[in-house]
């Protein structure tokens, strides 16, 4: 019995297959392995000269972190800073990698579209890169992670994020990077952190060592005025957020905000949920004046709060131990 001969190559699929493996090879030149936790290594991306981006949850040590470069050689790096809110960490290589790693080609922001064929490229060991194939399954607006990080676009993936893939690259069929993959921000769901967010966090970590988070020092809950009171005060919307706690010596305390105040507008926007206030408090607001319209004792008042900065988690812990 003779084997059947190879028939003519499936042309379109073959071209796609060649594109995919070429894309993996291109991305592999920027994807490194990071050995900063027991057992399985995790991935990282050579993002800027001498700088590696990784997933914060995979980094369990801060100094002399072993890094396997794309050409297989090992070197060391130190943690520059991390941001639990976006699960990103920045490492600096002790010696520049010269030709053994190259900076990735960055895809433009509009490349993030539902249905785009994508590859996750990781380096979970010293044995080379590994990959998985899928599509971008959802893209929506800016969102806030449960740990408070601001992410420019919500990008959900329909592909497998295998062990050690966090911190690796999401690339398109041309090998251009669309973001940093992470499985720890939304209960194991495969997500990608878009390039714009990564750049913003890398800038913050390189200059300040942490990502600034705005801070008022209040606890709030939704509440509403009676229709009669809302009418008397000429409010279109009877809803607001009730201040239920004011931390002493906080920006809110210094501005004279009291427990029982009902905030109906912040920065000229009406608010109905604590989340509405939080959305107005990006890291860039630190130091800025925030105008709050409140109802106190049945009367309207306007208070101006100078937005403070929340201490980074690590520093808060250290301070807490000291006191």
């Amino acid at each position: 019995m003779t084997p059947t001969s190879r028939s003519e190559t499936a042309s379109t699929l073959r071209a796609l297959s060649d594109d995919l493996s070429a894309a993996v090879e291109r991305a592999a030149r920027s994807v490194v392995a990071i050995h900063a936790r027991p057992r399985i290594a995790a991935s990282g991306i050579y993002w800027r000269d001498g700088v590696i981006v990784a997933a914060s949850h995979t980094i369990r040590k801060e100094q002399e972190i072993a890094v396997t470069l794309p050409n297989g050689t090992r070197t060391t790096a130190n943690l520059v800073g991390r941001d639990g809110g976006t699960d990103l960490a920045v490492l600096r290589l002790d010696t520049p990698p010269a030709a053994s790693a190259s900076l990735p080609e960055i895809a433009p922001a509009d490349a993030l579209r539902v249905g785009t064929l994508v590859l996750a490229v990781g380096r979970p060991s010293d044995d080379g890169v590994s990959t998985s194939l899928g599509v971008i399954s959802a893209v929506s607006d800016r969102w806030r992670t449960w740990s408070g990080g601001e992410i420019d676009r919500f990008v959900r993936l329909d592909l497998s994020i295998y062990d050690g893939f966090s911190g690796g690259a999401l690339v398109d069929a041309d090998g251009r990077i669309l973001g940093v993959n992470c499985s720890a921000l939304a209960r194991g769901t495969a997500l990608t952190i878009p390039n714009a967010t990564v750049d913003r966090v890398v800038d913050a970590l390189l200059t300040r060592g942490h990502v600034a988070r705005a801070y008022l020092g209040v606890a709030m809950q939704p509440a509403r005025l009676t229709n009669a009171l809302a009418e008397r005060l000429k409010l279109d919307d009877p809803r607001g957020v009730l201040v239920v706690m004011v931390e002493s010596d906080s920006p809110a305390d210094r501005a004279g905000l009291l427990v029982g105040d009902l905030i109906v507008a912040a920065a000229g926007t009406s608010v109905a949920e604590p989340q509405d206030v939080a959305e107005l408090l990006g890291g860039e607001q630190v130091g800025a004046a925030l105008e709050l319209k409140v109802i106190r004792g049945g009367e309207r008042r306007t208070l101006t709060v100078t937005v403070g900065e929340r201490a980074p988690a690590g520093e808060a812990r250290r301070r807490g131990r000291a006191s």
Partner: protein
């Protein structure tokens, strides 16, 4: 967008589309993939097998775990057209999870053997397909890519492809229809296959005895 995706978007509906190419590939693989059924007093199992090239008798390659060693079990192989034949296990390699079956009598119209490729040349990201009978569904195609280039000459083939029980013993193939692996297990979601050249070496050793 990659050149291939642009080409696919512009390709005429018939003949050259991605879908028709995949359909053609699935058909070619179905012709060389058999159902391997074991019937015994305590166990009924279905796996897949591959009609393997040989200069002499008609043989089928499958996984050792698809044809457990039990006295009195009856082994039947069936091709895609429904041709059935009784078969016997002529050799096993438990370490590599391989078993070689020989047909007692070759039915009329039994397909020609599969084309065997080389797993050592695989690249990460290359498209591969698996054919088998996941959960008993006959002749099902799974689409995926090579997860990582082989670590060594005889290392397992790792594919980002969705497999299920019933894929065992079936082919993992490239777009040419060349068999590069014999699917044998699922590890943390990854499809793991015995490299085809390792299986071929096993077949040659057995047949040379």
């Amino acid at each position: 967008m990659s050149a291939a995706l642009l080409a696919a978007a512009e390709a005429p509906a018939a003949g050259t589309s991605l879908t028709s190419e995949l359909q053609g590939l699935a058909e070619r693989l179905r012709r060389v993939t058999v159902r391997v059924a074991t019937t015994g007093a305590r166990f009924d199992g279905v796996g897949a097998g591959i009609i393997w090239p040989s200069s002499g008798q008609s043989i089928v390659m499958t996984n050792a775990h698809v044809v457990p060693r039990r006295r009195g079990d009856q082994l039947v192989v069936e091709d895609d057209a429904g041709n059935r034949a009784d078969a016997d296990v002529i050799a096993r390699d438990a370490e590599r999870d391989l078993a070689l079956l020989a047909l007692d009598a070759v039915p009329n119209g039994w397909p020609t053997a599969a084309f065997i490729g080389d797993a050592r040349a695989l690249r990460a990201g290359e498209i591969v397909v698996a054919l088998g009978h996941p959960f008993g569904v006959g002749g099902a195609l799974s689409f995926g890519i090579i997860h990582a280039a082989p670590k060594g000459d005889d290392s397992w083939v790792r594919a980002d492809v969705r497999l299920a029980p019933g894929n065992s013993g079936g082919p993992l193939a490239t777009l040419d229809g060349a068999i590069v692996g014999i699917n044998c297990m699922i590890a943390r979601g990854l499809g793991i296959a015995v490299p085809a050249h390792v299986a071929d070496r096993f077949a040659l050793e057995v047949l040379a005895r």
